[in-house]
Amino acid sequence: MTDRILTVRMEAHPQDSHTLATYEATGGYRALRTALSSMTPDDVKAQVKASNIRGRGGAGFPTGVKWGFLPEDLRPRYLVVNGDESEPGTFKDRILLERDPHQLVEGIIISSYGLDVHHAFVYIRGEYPKPARRVQQAIDEAYAAGYLGSDILGSGFSLDITVHLGGGAYICGEETALLNSLEGRRGEPRIKPPFPAVAGLYAKPTIVNNVETISNVPWIVANGGAAYAAIGPERSAGTRMFSLSGHVNRPGDYEIVMGMTWRELIYGIGGGIPGDRALKTWIPGGASAPWFVPDEHLDTPVTIDDVGANGSMLGSGAVIVMDETTDVVAAAHRIVKFFAHESCGQCTPCREGTTWLERILWRILNGAGRPSDLDLLLDVCDNISPGLRWPPAMTTICPLGPSAVSPITSIMRHFRDEVEAKIRTSEGASVG
């Protein structure tokens, strides 16, 4: 059984996995040749749909279904690869961009053939110049080798790829904000519908897929969608990149088959907690995700659906581990501060709410908390995401605002005594 797809080459060829020579020597661009010579575009789409791959950017939407939303008769269409990886704790697209850029480029070419796209874009966050350089080098090599440009490999199919660097804005990972940014505008999310598949880049039908998602396409086409679907649990098919960070002995990027338990991921793959300290809590899917705790979740399977059923999400695959020494109020404050900084400002509940949540947590942290702050925090949260349910209800155009609610509901649910203790200390300080 295949247990790794995306990281095989970079591990076997650490010095040159990013070059065309190594890529071709290890089977690269064979899937493209197969697709162009013996598959129709509909065959490509059918294989991706059969693979059951779900988007690796965070939302987990089935890629084949997304591709099916393109209107039949509108041209041009665009493919935009989302490499604006910015969710705190996430660094898995960076390794794919840097260490195996041809895998992505081949995935883009095959996907574009399937989607009848002739101009694709790779939007890479501005803070990733080296990954962007590597992708551009791969694209240049692919042009020189006849894999890009006009009449690719004599097939009659033509494609250009443009790399576009962001300017420093988390929100551009939201696909409609990304499209605005790519159009040369402020990265503000658009009201949906229309969805990008109908009216995306330059108001044309557009598919936006994550770097990891598209990097899987060569393998899917080479081995068949059914083979991919057979890897891992039924509704969490394929391998998955996880970024492990925080208080673990072996932080890093890991490609794993979903379905193992959190205990196996944190203590097995992650090597446990430094100094054998106790695990206090962890975030299973990036800063936007509600936190898990050992008593309830260590034996929960690492699948999209199991994590969702337990009130959180696998999101971008970023696992942030916190040990017993962690001040959870300080940690929650740091995450809320992120969302306050990254709010684009369009929607009042998010712009004002995240700012106030950050300020209230700051004063609790700094000895000026008030007894009423506990209810106030939850009240502000409720105004951003009514009912404090999971998945979150929204009063905003995009999910950024509701994401800022996750750390607060998490500490209130699991560590309320610690929050209250800080406020009691504050009272003592102000009286004394």
Partner: protein, 214 residues
């Protein structure tokens, strides 16, 4: 019609024309053009935004609205070396606040400011995608991972004493870094010549246009 970027270097004028031709709609070139304008003028100046606006048929206000949305367009000036210390959650858990304090001390520059001699700008930044090598920082957007307060101080002294024209992630990582998020593979000869991401089409040491005299 006069050329709005006549004072840009020849190489950068060519880059600008190539960039504008890459997109179905020329407005899409505004962000890369702002990076080139930064290279020309040291940061994103009012004049640079006016030039970019004229070049692609926008108003200066429209270009300003874009430049002001993103953190990497420095409109208030920026030092020769922009030191960006990540203080988001994963780096925070691994001691990022102490690294930031050490950088402030070593450069004599507080978070958000530029030193009087123009050598350093210091900023705390949100997650830069180096969480496996936390705490991490960037110098002119080139990564250094697994830093400590002491190593960060040594890095700042090395920059101040040597005043390198090009900063490269590999070199700084070898001298001042620790555990990285992943094996970086072979050395990468390119590096940053200014506080602008070192990406060929916008400007980098190996293949990009040179910064105008500064």
């Amino acid at each position: 019609m006069t050329n709005p970027i006549a004072d840009w270097s020849h190489a950068n004028q060519e880059r600008a024309q190539q960039l504008m031709a890459r997109y179905p709609d020329v407005r899409s070139a505004v962000m890369p053009l702002l990076y080139i304008a930064s290279l020309e003028h040291g940061h994103v100046t009012d004049e640079g935004m006016r030039q970019v606006a004229e070049l692609i048929g926008l108003t200066p206000a429209q270009v300003h609205s874009v430049a002001s949305f993103y953190t990497m367009y420095k409109r208030d000036g920026v030092g020769r070396y922009l030191v960006s210390v990540c203080t988001s959650i994963s780096c925070f858990l691994r001691g990022a606040d102490d690294v930031l304090a050490a950088v402030e001390e070593a450069t004599g520059t507080v978070d958000g400011e530029t030193s009087d001699d123009g050598m350093f700008s210091v900023e705390h930044v949100e997650c830069i995608g180096a969480c496996g090598g936390a705490p991490a920082l960037q110098v002119n957007y080139e990564f250094v991972e697994g830093v400590t307060p002491d190593k960060a101080v040594a890095l700042c002294r090395w920059l101040a004493d040597g005043r390198p024209d090009v900063v490269r992630s590999d070199e700084m990582q070898a001298l001042f870094g620790g555990r990285a998020s992943f094996d970086p593979g072979p050395a990468d000869p390119e590096g940053a010549i200014a506080p602008v991401p070192a990406f060929g089409p916008y400007g980098s040491a190996a293949s990009g246009p040179q910064r105008a005299g500064r």
